[in-house]
Symmetry: C2
Subunit: 116 residues, 2 copies
């Protein structure tokens, strides 16, 4: 998922896009937010994601230092995921994207309004 050519650029912006410039990582970061979540929860909540892709993305997020993984030595296994400081610092950006979209998105359906 990560683009190595981008990540090896000498431009920090290009490198940033090389790591978070895809759909899954922002989605996962946004879903976790300030919470601590387990694998099964993420699998259930992140829209449209499959187990396989989820594990891969979680690994990448951990490698890049956005995510902390805490595995308890229990059976059945239990693993907690939470954002690192870097990951938390990314949340306001995702919130800005959300607001930007709400403000500028062209209406897909010309919604009828009951509200006058």
């Amino acid at each position: 998922m990560r683009d190595d050519r981008f990540c090896q650029s000498n431009c920090p912006f290009t490198r940033a896009i090389g790591t978070i410039g895809n759909k899954w990582e922002p989605m996962i970061i946004n879903v976790i937010g300030t919470r601590t979540m387990r694998f099964g929860q993420l699998d259930a909540i992140v829209p449209h994601i499959s187990r396989k892709v989820l594990t891969g993305q979680l690994k990448e997020l951990e490698e890049v230092g956005l995510l902390e993984r805490l595995a308890y030595k229990e059976i059945p296994p239990k693993v907690d995921y939470k954002l690192s400081e870097k990951g938390l610092a990314f949340l306001p950006i995702l919130e800005a994207i959300n607001e930007w979209n709400i403000k500028y998105e062209v209406a897909v359906m010309p919604e009828e309004t009951d509200l006058g």
Copy 2:
């Protein structure tokens, strides 16, 4: 490039990621910035992009209303691209990503410093 499942979500954030959640569109938007640019310039400046991908992405950006395309009826052809209001409003987000990355990116090379 756009993810239709995401774009049909009833969550605005998910829809936003469905359109700009990829590497090419942020890169192109960032390169254009507040300037007006021609196809050939973009082809030369956007890192690693091929003509084919560039045309495709420019079309998508136009469809989503981030980009304005102005084709002059000349030969040889001349086409200007510039960001729409929506596109311009996205620039601060890209700048925030840049700053976030500069602040939190783990050094790839353990840089020696001459600066004490």
